[in-house]
Subunit: 356 residues, 2 copies
């Protein structure tokens, strides 16, 4: 089986197949979501995530079916009239479009593809500021200082961070954000079909206030329902039980390895590939600004060399991710997730560097 | 591993574990949901379902994360003001409650637990009639004649049928309904985390009309978005890819066996258990009206004998489902799904019949 560097769905974390076998041995796919076994699984997943990502008390952890669902539910539950979206690629743009589909006044602050934001003029009255920490389509990551500035300048707004293709790598300052979310098929290396939504008390209070004002915040997956069940380690619906079980197991594996080691290795692997791109005559980094470069999704301009590079990697059992959208033919994308080993990254970098 | 007769999540269909192994061998958990491999998987699942359930052209097949989500999305997409719900247990009631949560005028027509509906007076102006074919909490199934009467008497209303715990067994007349849905962890014997929503052109037209009227029909999972993607064998979001793959495989297994054989076996197994309950001195059928008895979820009044029966079954490697809600201690429920063999059902019936 070749190693895929596509930025999601990711190459599986290397322990997943063993955990699936355990799940079947333990009868997990047939357990009731109202059973004690399920509650323990739920608790194991949320406590593990709390430890791994440093999620403080006052933040709750909920499961949805995807990060796309969290785009939808977060707008529905947290915005009555106005929100603002920082848009610098296809995924941050989709979040903004969902706000429009939900009939909100959604301001869009744009940066050109591959660049950082110059403009930060958030309209007065914004109830939610949507930040995409890591734009998967272009490999631009927002610096933490950028994310952390809004809480002070816009105390009325909830700061919501999409970290779909960066977690578990980044270390967020939870005093500067109100909500954070991701889906499991990226950095956690799990089969798709599960989103994780982390939200603080201010989010819950907002959803309850909206509901009181007669705003329609949804049904089984509105925040008050998610919370009422999560505090019992339950879900409102029959969820992706197997997905939650696998997440609990992989989070535990990552805790055994240690988040510091995962972060160090991610930094190392990113440095190896960016260095190769700096020297390469066939590929160069798409993101010019070093401070805006993602460590977890590395995008290279490959122009006319795209096919040659892909084929050279294929011959060594490696699959590059293609460019996104209109950049499909002229770029390659490389996920740098915990499942990718240092050795794989060194081989990837060496292979690209050797091409002329 | 004991055989569970709990009516969901079900005992897995006996081929699932092998299909999971194939999925890993084929790299399914890491494929992109925009890849040809995914499109083939999507198409295999939908074409298989079409053949198995006799779904005619003009009906489309969509994937959601659960049947609970379909309760939510169907109300959101198909009702502007008014709907009516036939409520005879906890699950039909939950569908009605979701309509209320979504700020609709939702009429409730009730029958006592375990009984058929006497009243069928649907209010004028109802845009949707919600029927729960098989009430999982009580083991009451609606006769097909009951379901089929509404299309003629209420031509303006969409007839939507929840068949969560009965499919693939029942044979619906698609000329008499507009939408049908289920989740895969019941009769299909798959891990939870996937709902299947079948809806006709009238549903699509309704959703588009609502949207045009400024009614908020949601974002990524509104019917027009689901349809725009499904006709390309795609989904709007990264879905539960592994779940769709497993569904395609199990549906194919069921097609190999033949739906007629599945229906005959289901009838046989139901007859065996209902006969045992008729003779038993410790358990009797909860649903007195023979025409209202479910073939796929069989509920027994077990009163003071509940623990004794459960323990006798456990000793033979069988797990009964407990009663639902307030009937937890005084009833047992038995799923009669395609995964349950005739031999298992004979042993189940014999064990109950032997108890005094």
């Amino acid at each position: 089986m070749p190693v895929t560097f596509a930025p999601g769905p990711s190459h599986l974390y290397f322990t997943v197949e063993d955990h699936i076998k355990s799940a079947f041995r333990e009868g997990i796919p047939s357990i009731s979501h109202r059973s004690k076994t399920f509650e323990h699984t739920f608790q194991s997943a949320t406590e593990g995530l709390r430890a791994l990502l440093g999620i403080p008390g006052g933040f709750h952890i909920f499961f949805t079916s995807s990060a796309t669902e969290i785009w939808d539910r977060s707008i529905q539950n947290l915005v009555e009239h106005q929100c603002v979206h920082f848009v610098n690629g296809s995924f941050s743009k989709r979040y903004w479009e969902i706000a429009l589909q939900l009939n909100k006044q959604a301001q869009k602050i744009e940066a050109p593809l591959g660049q950082a934001f110059a403009d930060v003029q958030v309209e007065a009255g914004a109830e939610l500021i949507a930040l995409t920490h890591n734009e998967t389509s272009t490999g631009v990551a927002l610096p933490m200082d950028f994310i952390n500035q809004f809480k002070a300048s816009h105390p009325q707004a909830l700061v919501v961070v999409d970290a779909v293709s960066s977690l578990p790598y980044p270390q967020f300052d939870f005093s500067k954000i109100d909500s954070l979310f991701f889906s499991v098929q990226k950095g956690f290396g799990l089969p798709a079909g599960l989103g994780v939504w982390i939200a603080n008390e201010a989010c819950l209070t907002r959803a309850e206030a909206l509901q009181k004002n007669g705003v329609q915040i949804g049904s089984y997956h509105n925040l008050p329902s998610l919370y009422a069940n999560a505090k019992k380690n339950q879900t409102t619906e029959t969820p992706n039980v197997l997905g939650i079980y696998l997440l609990a197991k992989v989070v535990n594996d990552m805790l055994q390895k240690g988040i510091d080691a995962i972060r160090r290795e991610t930094d190392y692997k990113a440095a190896v590939l960016y260095q190769a791109l700096a020297k390469s005559s066939v590929a160069l980094p798409f993101v010019a600004d070093v401070n805006a470069r993602s460590k977890t999704v590395i995008v290279a301009n490959t122009g006319d060399h795209t096919t040659k590079i892909s084929e050279a990697l294929n011959r060594k059992g490696m699959l590059a991710g293609s460019g996104y959208g209109e950049l499909k033919a002229s770029q390659l994308r490389f996920a740098n997730f915990p499942t990718h080993s240092k050795e794989q990254y060194e081989m990837l970098a060496d292979t690209i560097e050797a091409l002329t």
